[in-house]
């Protein structure tokens, strides 16, 4: 394998891990409510911005990161409580539009609460590149990958081994049946918004040392994460991860071997292709028609 290819793969996996984290957030909320939460990118922004603000105010990095995740989780819960829940009888499309409105609001608030400048976090463990087979890798990339693996493992445990997790899965399969079993759909919604906000914030903190953060990064990251979620099959956890990694690799290899000018085009063409030929995504189960 040439050093060039290794470098492209490393770049692709780094990008892909970030997209995967954002896509997972989409999947969790979609599962619980069939709503595509377009404010998902704003959680990423809040995580990064809050963490830099806490670090600037003198908190040590681990504490600042924890506080930022907590802050984003609160915002996620508030979004559910104040915007989504009051409209719970509305159609899914209405709810989606509500999340778009919420994302604009959150972006505006962020530019007021913090500022419109670009911020960065110090790398968790230094900036010295690590050489691998002629290619180089930043230590922060390992943090991104490691944290993604841990987050995915924790999510798997949560959904398969805890009652709350199983309740969310039950709701995703059938709202009515889950309610008849005594599961509080309202609580499930709260948990899923909180959880995906926390995941988004984690992604935002992890990438802040590599790609910085500012009040408006949520838009593009949200879009890429959404594309990854579609590619993987909406609502599928493993699909979101596969979709994210695939998208990152397509972008990096496309930019490296074809033309960087059309980098985003490859990604979106593949997604269009997936929608046409694989409407349920890479990991999609055939959605049974509900009669």
């Amino acid at each position: 394998m040439s050093a060039e290819l290794v470098q492209f793969l490393l770049a692709g996996i780094t990008l892909g891990a970030i997209y995967a984290l954002v896509a997972l957030g989409f999947a969790i909320i979609y599962n619980a409510s069939h709503v595509i939460n377009f404010a998902q990118g704003e959680f990423v922004m809040i995580g990064g911005m809050a963490a830099t603000a806490f670090v600037d105010s003198g908190l040590p990095l681990p504490l600042a990161a924890a506080a930022a995740v907590a802050a984003a989780t609160l915002v996620g819960l508030a979004l559910e409580k104040l915007a989504v829940e009051p409209a719970r009888n509305a159609s899914v499309v209405t709810l989606i539009i509500i999340t778009i409105g919420a994302s604009i609001l959150l972006r505006g608030l962020a530019s007021l609460v913090w500022d419109k400048k670009i911020h960065s976090l110090p790398a968790f463990t230094g900036d010295k590149p690590i050489a691998i087979g002629g290619a180089t890798l930043l230590p922060q990339t390992l943090w991104v990958l490691g944290a993604t693996v841990v987050a995915v493992a924790a999510l798997w445990w949560f959904f398969n081994r805890t009652l709350t997790g199983k309740a969310i899965l039950a709701v995703s399969h059938n709202h009515l049946a889950a309610r008849l079993m005594g599961i509080s759909v309202r609580r499930v919604l709260m948990v899923s918004f909180g959880l995906s906000a926390a995941l988004g914030a984690l992604a935002g903190i992890l990438i802040a040392p590599i790609s910085f953060t500012s009040w408006d990064i949520g838009v593009m990251l949200g879009l890429k994460g959404f594309a990854a979620a579609i590619l993987g099959g909406l609502g599928s956890g493993p699909g979101a991860i596969a979709g994210g990694l695939a998208l990152g690799l397509i972008e990096a290899l496309g930019a490296g071997y074809l033309s960087s000018a059309y980098k985003d085009v490859f990604a979106f063409v593949i997604i269009l292709g997936a929608l046409v030929f694989l409407p349920n995504g890479l990991a999609g189960r055939r959605a049974a028609e509900r009669v």
Partner: protein, 378 residues
Amino acid sequence: MFFRTLLAMGTLALASLVQAQEPIRIGAFLSVTGPAAFLGDPEQKTLELYVEKINAAGGVLGRKLQLYSYDSAGDAEKARAYVKRLIEQDKVDVLVGGSTTGETMAAVPLVEAAQVPFISLAGAVVIIEPVKKWVFKTPHTDRMACEKIFDDMRARGATKVALISGAGGFDRSMRAECLKVASAHGVQIVADESYGAGDTDMTAQLTKIKNTPGVQAVLNCGFGQGPAIVTKNYRQLGIQAPFYQSHGVASKQYVKLSGDAAEGVRLPAAALLIAETLPASDKQKKVVVDYKREYESRFKSEVSTFGGHAYDGLMLAVDAIKRAGGTDRAKMRDALESTKGYMGTAGVVNMSAKDHMGLDLSAFRMLEVKKGDWALVQ
């Protein structure tokens, strides 16, 4: 309520007594909010600050300045609407503004039709080429930045250059200008890569550049956070060729974001950035140091070249009004066009019928990042 109305009337009456003469109306439309807020915000602050200062010192020709400013939020359509309002309702004597090229170009047909002198604060060459009778501008163009950079590269013996550009308006315009002037300045573009808005990793593009044979220098035409990421990736890949950034990231923020990776990076910038370190013999030193101190002591935030453009715009207008002996529009325009030897934050301005910007390459200083700060390249 009645009392308040009475009070307002009293204030008005008092004001009209004090201001026996009509104020000079300065119209401004700036991107104070929105994606180009980093341009419009310091511009707006600068205009407010200096209108206040000029008025405190007795105004211009015994008349006070009055600022009419609207936030066009980076939106060309809004800019057009506000310019219409400024001309028709507020009846301004001169227009300063248009933070972005898009907003400026939206205003051009209106000011040409209404025949109002207009000083733009945006960068692109299209604003002054071809020359438009009523349109002037203060910032240097991206073409000048390309020329300055290519000259410096050649002086260091590099003639084979790789470009890596972002997808924004500034990035693309600069890339196009650099491609246009490259051969005239003796350099050859051997690689031309790009990255998207909001991209978080550019190692793929840079690896391609690294593996292009014969690359002697690399130039990043970019704006915002992209260039800082490119800089970090550049060092990560250990590329040895000299690395240049554009004037678009000539701010402390870029150095801070890139950290150690920015060491040795060169870029062209206005003298304002290195105001205090300019040699005392430098003719521009006084104006940039004064502006920097005024701005920083008032707003407690770091000065930017963009605010400097607004300072130049306002001062050029004031200078023209003085020489025209009033606010007759045609006379003001002629006075603006005959501006000679005006020393501003962007450099020395010598306008002519063919050149409505009036700056030359000496307006740019080549800077290098050394120990986290700017150093002047001799």
